[in-house]
């Protein structure tokens, strides 16, 4: 078995507040293989984006990584000095943000932002960097790249700007791209194109993707594996097809049941009763127990860890026999 590109072990992110410590992300374990697309789904506030930010070392203070470690090709990166971490960002891990309208500095030309990023990470002359930048814009599908490169962000449409953002994230050929809801702010008609461009370019470069989204459809079409998050923890993780077809965790099953299907005639969509708890009021035991249709006594007391009842699939639920734990 090949070595994972990125390993996250027991990652816990905490926010100290006046009313005590809030745990935004708790005990996250996941691996991303080279070239793999790992989807990460969950409701707002489930800790998806926070996990991405923690991996790249961009948690806003007072938030902090309280426990756990992040390993990039076996090297620990969560405790690096700021300057070494900075050199990894953009160079080995690229990031794409949600809103392309606000991700680009409005006062700088596209060319300046690209060249600046390229030259920060690669020893290239200005001309060479500019050439590379034009090539990148070409790759992400901006027509007439050589002419458009000297435009300012406001002269591009939202979809075009997200293409520029992708070019910026890829400009130093990172091994991993963290895409934090890359299509949420875009028109539905543009979303598919952006995902396609991102996926294709990463595949060409052998870069893995951590795709954070709440759109199950995007995950189904794009990801190899999916991690379902609930209240700051991973509920279930496994190959996309298996998870969609045979969800093991009742929460995942509820999510799948809530997706409308063509050809099906329903009076109303099924939904999971209740709402995800606030970080300050996570119930004892399994965080999902108040909403779970298959809740047992044990769920209200003990919190389940990630078990591996079937090889390659892990789930945090007491429904599955404990002895299967790896």
């Amino acid at each position: 078995m090949t070595e994972p590109l990125l390993s996250v072990r027991g990652l816990t992110v905490e926010f100290p507040t006046r009313h005590g410590i809030l745990t935004a992300v708790e005990d996250i374990d996941l691996d991303i293989m080279p070239g793999e697309v790992l989807g990460m789904v969950g409701e707002s506030g489930a800790g998806k984006s926070m996990t991405g930010n923690a991996i790249i070392g961009l948690i806003e203070p007072p938030g902090r990584i309280a426990r756990g470690e992040v390993l990039l090709k076996g090297q620990r990166i969560d405790n690096l000095p700021p300057d070494e971490m900075r050199a990894i960002r953009g160079r080995r891990i690229g990031m794409i943000f949600q809103d392309p309208l606000t991700s680009l500095n409005p006062l700088y030309r596209i060319s300046d932002q690209l060249v600046e990023t390229i030259r920060t990470h690669l020893p290239l002359s200005r001309d060479a960097a500019l050439k590379r930048a034009i090539g990148l814009l070409d790759d992400v599908g901006i027509p007439d790249a050589a002419r458009r490169i000297d435009d300012y962000p406001h002269q591009f449409s939202g979809g075009m700007r997200q293409r520029v953002v992708i070019a910026l994230a890829l400009c130093a050929e990172p091994d991993l791209v963290i895409a934090d809801e890359p299509t949420t702010a875009l028109d539905v008609s543009v979303q598919a194109q952006i995902i396609e461009v991102m996926k294709q370019l990463c595949a060409e470069r052998g870069a893995a993707i951590l795709l954070v989204t709440h759109d199950m459809g995007v995950i189904a079409e794009t990801a190899d594996r999916v991690a379902v998050m609930y209240a700051g923890r991973i509920a279930e993780i496994g190959p996309v097809r298996d998870v969609i077809k045979h969800a093991m965790h009742p929460y995942t099953a509820g999510l799948m049941g809530a997706i409308p299907r063509l050809g099906e005639n329903l009076d109303r969509l099924s939904q999971i009763p209740g709402a995800m708890p606030r970080l300050s009021a996570i119930p004892q035991g399994c965080a999902f127990n108040p909403r779970c249709p298959r809740v047992m006594d044990r769920c209200r007391v003990d919190r389940p860890g990630l078990l591996e009842p079937v090889p390659g699939r892990r789930v945090a639920c007491w429904l599955y026999p404990e002895e299967a734990q790896a």
Partner: protein, 327 residues
């Protein structure tokens, strides 16, 4: 952009005309110009003749147009007190005021931006706290008190710097400067600091607030995620975005630095336009007052114009031409 400049120029002309109207009303109707010009022993008939010769019996509209026409040629009449052309008087005092205003604007801008950036980047450091507290003094103490305080410390107690006047000046023919002599430079220090202090704290607090705002934006986070150096982010991406509002305020403040140099010039007996204005007010030297009003208005209008044009230089979103698509 050209259309914009032309429109702004037209607006400027309107503003100037309106100020001219006010200046004219003061000039013509505040007190009797003839009474100010003549002595007690001038006969009434002679006064009438003068009135007629100066055109003071013409309809007000004609007089106003004549006033504007003269003003456009830089002609504001004769000072009652000094019996010299007002324009000449103001021009002879102008270099002193401009040098003072420029020096203090520079101090305010440089220290204001540097301290503002520093306190924004290191909001929790002890030094930032000290600077922020000290800046409260700057905004809350009146200028004259600061001036007198500085004189007391640096002139009276320490004897390092002169307390009044402009020192030796060098006459360049059209400009008398104090910047080329040692005494001139020394004399400039205290009044420039006094005049700059308020603007300095204002700019500093503005830069700090704007900078804190910008550092929270998505594009700064994205710049971090791209692994740009801290320096490139803070001084390239963040600072440039804070500059737009800073330019406005600084520009307007430069106008008020010139306009309100009056207090500082009085405290330090600085021979500038402001002190000319104060002495003119004391003896109701109306032509000087009217001309001063016009002059200050002109300064403000010009600076506003420059500020508006600078926006275009800094912010590409305002340049309407040359873009294919937008929002």
């Amino acid at each position: 952009m050209l259309a914009f400049i032309i429109r702004r120029l037209a607006q400027s002309v309107l503003v100037m005309l309106f100020v001219a109207l006010i200046a004219f009303v003061i000039f013509r109707y505040v007190g009797d110009p003839i009474a100010s010009m003549v002595g007690v022993e001038t006969r009434l008939e002679d006064q009438e003749i003068m009135r007629d010769r100066l055109g003071l019996n013409d309809p007000a509209v004609i007089q106003f147009l004549r006033f504007v026409g003269n003003a456009m040629q830089g002609e504001f009449g004769i000072s009652y007190r000094l019996q010299q052309p007002v324009t000449e008087l103001i021009l002879s005092r102008l270099p002193a005021t401009i040098e003072l205003a420029f020096a203090s604007a520079m101090i305010a801008l440089v220290f204001g931006v540097v301290l503002g950036v520093f306190t924004a980047l290191k909001p929790k450091s002890l030094l930032s706290g000290a600077v922020m507290s000290a800046s409260l003094i700057g905004v809350s103490l009146p200028t004259f008190l600061i001036g007198i305080g500085l004189i007391y410390i640096f002139s009276v107690e320490l004897g390092w710097l002169p307390s009044f006047g402009r020192g030796e000046v060098v006459d360049l023919g059209w400009w008398r400067t104090g910047l080329l002599t040692e005494t001139g430079l020394k004399s400039l220090i205290l009044p420039a600091i006094t005049l700059s202090l308020f603007q300095l704290t204002l700019i500093m607090r503005l830069v700090r607030a704007e900078m804190l705002e910008v550092l929270r934006t998505e594009y700064i986070r994205f710049a971090r995620a791209r692994g740009l150096t801290q320096r490139a982010i803070n001084f390239g991406h963040a600072l440039k975005n804070t500059l737009v509002p800073v330019i406005t305020i600084t520009g307007l403040q430069l106008g008020s630095v010139i306009a309100f140099a009056i207090v500082t010039e009085t405290v330090f007996q600085w021979p500038g336009v402001g002190s000319l204005f104060i002495t003119s007010v004391q003896v109701v030297d109306v032509p000087v007052m009217a001309a001063y009003l016009m002059f200050i208005a002109l300064v403000f209008v010009l600076i506003n114009l420059v500020v508006d044009i600078l926006y275009f230089v800094v912010d590409p979103r305002l340049r309407v031409d040359g873009g294919s698509s937008g929002k």
